[in-house]
């Protein structure tokens, strides 16, 4: 470092040393991926000059292809909600493999409190409980869903924070356990026929509105509250956090509880949108949520990453998924591409980490 940059009393502000926000890189990657699809759309002969995101029918009202945009964001919104929680867990240098299965278990349990009494004049053939649990106000299944997610989060958190079981193992156990609960709940039968009010929660653009509201809320929490600061501090240097007097175990439980609650909420929205709950719901969601965070620049080593990054990561996954469909390429190519992108993102982070270490 040059001598001029050494101010007295920390008063100089050396602009050249200001850090380039990582989110800009991720955003650049999003734009790049969109550009690649757009170019392929123009170049590939069988595409007839179609565009991924822009309107090609020369309408006057809009330059965008809203229909595809809508599909992309609704598709990523539900898993995106899970990814908001997973992001916080990863920032503490943890991992949550259970969220997909928690979605499955929560879907079954919450939906059992959202059923109507009568279907076409006949008693609901799929009713799980007696009459007392039918035609309940929508708030009750929502609260049940949040409660189930919270319980899963508390167990994860206690295992990680107090029993010192590695997060990978603790949440792997919860992943298997919760999937078991989902299958045991109604012996594998779907739980269907929700009340009208419950069905509105995930209808239309509601998942997107909920996802974006939560993203803004957690962006604020992570940047402007003690909770956020301590989450970063623990992931950055757990020992330092402890020496600074942060109650690390209690904080970790809170982080896992928030992640569990968000998985529970995702299950509510998913069942409401699909009008049914099945024990296989949420399969591999945990991996997609982790992928969104990792692609969005959240470091698996902890301490680094942001909600904004994860939201952009979610959009990248959405664009890739619909981009492959748009190019009429099979789902297997899409999974191969995602696999490579995830490994690439982690490799990039690893490389940046090493470069930072060798510099200091």
């Amino acid at each position: 470092m040059s001598d001029e940059s050494q101010g007295v009393g920390g008063l100089t502000y050396d602009k050249s040393k200001r850090q380039w926000p990582n989110e800009l890189n991720v955003f650049g990657a999003l734009i790049l991926i969109i550009a690649i699809f757009e170019i392929l759309g123009q170049v590939l002969p069988y595409m007839n000059g179609q565009s991924l995101l822009f309107d090609t029918r020369d309408r006057f009202d809009s330059i965008f292809n809203e229909q595809r945009l809508r599909i992309i964001i609704v598709q990523v919104a539900i898993i995106g909600i899970i990814a908001l929680g997973v992001t916080q867990v990863i920032i503490t240098a943890g991992i949550d493999l259970s969220s997909g299965s928690v979605v499955g278990a929560t879907a079954m349990i919450a939906m059992s409190f959202a059923q109507v009494a009568e279907v076409n004049g006949n008693p609901n053939p799929k009713a799980i409980f007696g009459e007392w649990a039918l035609d309940l106000p929508w708030l009750i299944p929502v609260l049940v869903g949040l409660l189930v997610g919270t319980v899963a989060g508390i167990i994860n958190g206690i295992l990680v924070a107090y029993s010192r079981i590695p997060p990978f193992i603790a949440t792997l156990g919860m992943m298997l356990f919760a999937r078991g609960v989902a299958q045991w709940w109604s012996k594998g039968n779907p739980v269907s026929f929700p009340t009208e009010s419950y069905a509105k929660i995930g209808a239309g653009m509601m998942p997107v509105i909920i996802f974006l509201s939560l993203a803004i809320l957690f962006h604020f929490i992570m940047n402007y509250t003690v909770y956020g600061k301590h989450t970063y501090a623990i992931g950055s240097n757990e020992q330092a956090a402890r020496m600074s007097g942060i109650n690390v175990p209690r904080h970790l439980v809170l982080v896992y509880v928030i992640a569990g609650m968000l998985a529970g909420l995702a299950a509510v929205i998913l069942t409401s949108k699909n009008l049914t709950a099945q024990s296989g719901m949420g399969l591999t969601y945990e991996l997609e949520a982790i992928a969104m965070a990792v692609i969005g620049g959240v470091s698996l080593f902890g301490g680094r990453g942001s909600i904004i990054g994860t939201v952009i990561g979610a959009l990248i996954i959405g664009v890739i998924t619909s981009g492959f469909t748009y190019l009429k390429l099979g789902a297997y190519y899409q999974e191969m591409a995602l696999g490579m992108i995830i490994v690439g993102a982690v490799a990039l982070d690893q490389w940046q980490q090493q470069r930072a270490a060798s510099r200091s």
Partner: protein, 257 residues
């Protein structure tokens, strides 16, 4: 109020079979600056960790500010008025300077929000500036994360953290071990400032010149035991070295080591 700020009686720490600290009797007077010296592995850092509640002692007593204390963790010690710079720096690399200075005791608003109470960034930034000016620590940009700073700058941040908050006792475990000439001089100036302000200090150091420059009294540790308690005016470098190496043992400690 008595003149003694800190006293340990028979302070002992065993790690399994390792007797890292054995029966340490130690007294520190108000406003006094004391150095702890001793070879690597002599138990100096272990002694510091037992006083500050980072670890729980095997046995013995710690009396701070007149009453026996049993700190459950470093925050307890801090709240009681002991500020510590640990040898393994307690800094979070991904946070910036004010965040690190205030980690665990953030200035906040809307405290009824519990864990989600808001950070008062402005107040913390201003206090950080004031603290850096007061200690003369030079940091090019306090908004940079610690990860982007040199070892010396990190050390300065850790020391500024100690000096920013008023305390009854400051403990520094090898604060200048990784520092260049200028930074070392800076830290020594901070120590002198603390002396002028009448704050008590324990300084763990291997640097003989520094110790003779800064403190009133020297305690020597050898293999987990205190083997000498020397007034600066009654000793010299060679004398201290002979205690460190085991050529000599203080009369009152005969039989201990």
């Amino acid at each position: 109020m008595s003149d003694i700020i800190l006293e340990t009686k028979g302070l002992t720490k065993h790690y399994g079979g390792v007797h890292a600290l054995e029966g340490a009797d130690f007294v520190l007077n108000r406003g006094e600056h004391v150095a702890i010296m001793g070879d690597n592995g002599a138990g100096k850092s272990t002694f510091v960790r037992q006083i500050t509640g980072v670890e729980q002692r095997t046995r013995g007593e710690v009396i701070f500010n007149g009453s026996p204390v049993n700190f459950a963790g470093p925050l307890d010690a801090r709240e009681a008025g002991i500020e510590t710079v640990f040898q393994t720096l307690a800094l979070a690399d991904d946070l910036n300077v004010p965040d690190n200075l205030f980690l665990g005791r953030e200035k906040t608003k809307l405290n009824w929000l519990g864990p989600f109470r808001l950070l008062d960034y402005k107040a913390m930034r201003e206090d950080t500036m004031a603290g850096l000016v007061k200690t003369g620590v030079k940091i090019p940009n306090i908004k940079n994360t610690i990860a982007n700073m040199s070892g010396g700058q990190r050390q300065c941040v850790a020391i500024a953290r100690t000096a920013t908050f008023a305390s009854k006792l400051t403990i520094m475990d090898e604060p200048t071990a990784a520092l260049g000439v200028q930074e070392t001089a800076q830290v020594e100036n901070i120590v002198r400032t603390l002396k002028d302000q009448g704050e008590s200090l324990i300084l763990v150091s291997h640097n003989m010149r520094q110790v003779f420059d800064l403190v009133d009294r020297i305690i020597v540790f050898r293999r987990g035991r205190i083997v000498a308690n020397l007034n600066k005016s009654e000793t010299d470098g060679n004398d201290v070295v002979s205690y460190i190496t085991g050529a000599k043992t203080g009369a009152e400690f005969e039989g201990a080591a």
